[in-house]
């Protein structure tokens, strides 16, 4: 068999051509972002909306529409896209790390630590959001670091998993204690914080979060070979030249840095990190070279859609975003499992 003929036979086999899927996802994400920006509680005629979006404010009548579109909606919609992308790629990384389709960033304590930080700030201080967000970020980093440090003492990734469970339990009990101490007003704040909300979106927040997320996501995407190798098994990954401790450290660090600020800024948004990578895997297969960028695009699409639903279903009120993702994601996930598909 000649080398040339063998090469032709070895043309890559895919479930669906990845570049096409990526392009499709990108186009869909863009479309949904535009749609979401154009609809909401305040009714803005389409022509005027497009005019304001494209050319900026021109007529004095546009005051309310300007404010809503450019100051409230656009940052929020973009925030949803960034948050969705971040949660999805972090979920994919965790699933690669634990070699388990049920893994998601919360396993290493990021969400519980973030919640503990936020609850602590809400109950023990009076600083409001200015204190809550950094406290949540600090909490998530500390919890993850603790899980990682303790988990290292047990060999294999099981150590990290067990440590994460332990940290989550400890954080949960501390949260319970603080909840008990909370006043009514604080309790209400806690409840809403934990249901998740993208309402804190603003241009300054986005100016930090977007580049930050892209930076660490790009770094994560460069680890695609290591993540593929992990699929073969930890021994085989080492045989291919990947030091497990280094890989684990990188994946956990990147996930904590990507998801931590999000938990701080939004509260808890569940299911995106768990379900989106699955959907992408079902279409594209598990090759991380495509899975990671595709997850980002699909996550952006999913969360923008969810936030749009949250904003228009009970106008003029809004549903908390974590509620929408759970209400839609939960049954959907059950359905996936019931189909018996292999992951």
């Amino acid at each position: 068999m000649s080398l040339a003929r063998a090469s032709r036979l070895a043309r890559p086999a895919r479930r669906a051509a990845p570049p096409a899927v990526l392009a499709g996802l990108g186009a869909a994400a863009l479309l949904v972002t535009l749609l979401a920006a154009l609809s909401g509680a305040v009714h803005i005629p389409l022509a005027d909306a497009l005019r304001v979006l494209a050319a900026g404010p021109t007529q004095p009548d546009d005051t309310l529409w300007r404010n809503v579109l450019l100051d409230i909606r656009l940052p929020r919609v973009l925030f949803a896209a960034v948050a969705g992308a971040a949660l999805a790629i972090a979920g994919a990384a965790m699933q690669a790390l634990f070699r388990n389709p049920l893994a998601e960033p919360g396993l290493v304590g990021i969400s519980a630590g973030g919640a503990l930080g936020a609850v602590g700030a809400i109950v023990l201080t009076t600083g409001g959001f200015a204190v809550t967000a950094p406290a949540a970020f600090a909490g998530s980093l500390l919890a993850t670091a603790a899980a990682y440090a303790v988990g290292r003492r047990v060999s294999g990734v099981a150590g990290l998993l067990l440590a994460g469970i332990a940290i989550n339990t400890v954080a949960g009990s501390l949260i319970g204690l603080l909840t008990y101490m909370a006043s009514d007003a604080q309790l209400r704040d806690l409840t809403f914080w934990s249901m998740g909300s993208l309402a804190g979106a603003s241009w300054p927040l986005l100016a930090f979060l977007a580049p930050w997320t892209l930076l660490w996501s790009a770094w994560l995407m460069r680890q695609w070979r290591a993540m593929n190798a992990l699929l073969l098994g930890e021994r085989e990954a080492q045989h291919l030249g990947f030091a497990l401790v280094t890989v684990r450290y990188k994946l956990v660090l990147a996930t904590a840095l990507i998801v931590g600020p999000l938990v701080a800024a939004t509260g808890g948004i569940g299911f995106v990190g768990l379900v989106v990578p699955h959907l992408v895997r079902m279409t594209l297969g598990a090759d991380h070279r495509w899975l990671l960028p595709a997850s980002m695009l699909a996550g952006a699409l999913a969360l923008t859609l969810a936030d749009w639903l949250a904003r228009i279903v009970v106008i003029p009120a809004e549903l908390p975003i974590g509620l929408v993702t759970s209400l839609v994601g939960g049954p959907f996930f059950l359905w996936l499992l019931a189909r018996g598909r292999k992951f």
Binding site: T63, L64, V68, L70, D71, F192, A207, A210, P320
Partner: protein
């Protein structure tokens, strides 16, 4: 692209702030008012200004008309765009409402937002009435209402105090909660001449059957919805913790309207009077003539 968007956003902010500043001085009385906070809404109606309201929040349950207005959600999780959709020119926000960022954003877009005192104290009630009235441009009516509430309060407080030991139990989720100090319920109990056995506790906390027995209240006040959740008066009286109390023995479990007893609104005097005039309460403890 982000840079030009940012610049545009900043330009808009600047324009909006100027526009907002122009709106700040109320030349014309506000025509479209959104109220956030149950008693804020109630006061607006009590001042006869209910027809100017275009929206309120989920906790605005009195009067009936308030429940027919568009609801923007819970007053501690106010959606900015939702409020803007109602095109308000005035938002009366309880000082408990939030998140602060949302209210700030509303102000930035040029909407007049007035913060209204909303603490469970008589003084706050007084301030609240006057603040709402002033914001709505009807200060004289505010004086009137404040005055009549004051008078009704004085009359209610003049009734004999029983100094009986009392507790308010609320049950919405299956775990009974007791009202501690700093709650509206505690204020009602104290103004009604009762002694809140949980006064040292801060806020609502779960109350175990054993603790309830140990506290031995002579009067138990229960909001009506909680009573229904417990299965009615007889079932509540028979339940473990309650059955051991003097209140159960003397048949002094008082059901009261939720809104009356869980908030401090203009009907506070009514709540106090209802409690004081309840037979079993009046007969309890050591009745004395209160000073003034």
């Amino acid at each position: 692209m982000a840079a030009s968007l940012l610049k545009t956003a900043l330009a808009i902010l600047a324009t909006a702030c100027l526009a907002g500043a122009a709106h700040a001085a109320p030349d014309a009385p506000a025509r479209r008012v959104v109220t956030l906070g149950g008693t804020v809404t109630e006061i607006a109606y009590a001042l006869g200004q209910g027809h100017r309201l275009v929206g309120d929040d989920l906790s605005s349950l009195y009067p009936e008309a308030a429940t027919k207005l568009p609801r923007v959600g819970y007053y501690r999780a106010v959606p900015v765009e939702g409020v803007l959709a109602l095109k308000p020119d005035l938002v009366l926000a309880s000082d408990q409402s939030g998140p602060p960022a949302a209210l700030a954003r509303l102000r930035e877009t040029g909407v007049r937002v007035e913060t209204i005192s909303d603490q469970p104290t008589v003084q706050s009630l007084d301030d609240r009435i006057r603040q709402v009235a002033r914001a709505l441009g009807v200060p004289e009516r505010g004086e009137q209402l404040a005055g009549s509430v004051d008078a009704a309060l004085r009359d209610a407080r003049a009734l004999p105090d029983s100094h009986a030991r009392a507790v308010l139990i609320m049950n919405r989720t299956g775990t009974p909660l007791g009202a501690g100090g700093g709650t509206a319920a505690s204020l009602v109990l104290e103004l009604a001449g009762l002694v809140n056995v949980l006064a040292d506790q801060q806020g609502y906390k779960p109350l175990s059957a054993e603790a309830l027995g140990a506290l031995a209240p002579q009067v138990i006040v229960v909001p009506r919805l909680s009573l229904e959740a417990a299965g009615g008066l007889d079932k509540l009286r028979a339940s473990p913790g309650v059955a051991a109390t003097p209140a159960a023995a003397r048949q002094c479990i008082v059901a009261m309207d939720d809104l009356l007893v869980l908030g401090t609104g203009p009907r506070l005097p009514q709540a106090i009077r209802t409690l004081k005039e309840t037979d079993c309460v009046a007969r309890q403890g050591q009745p004395t003539r209160p000073a003034g």
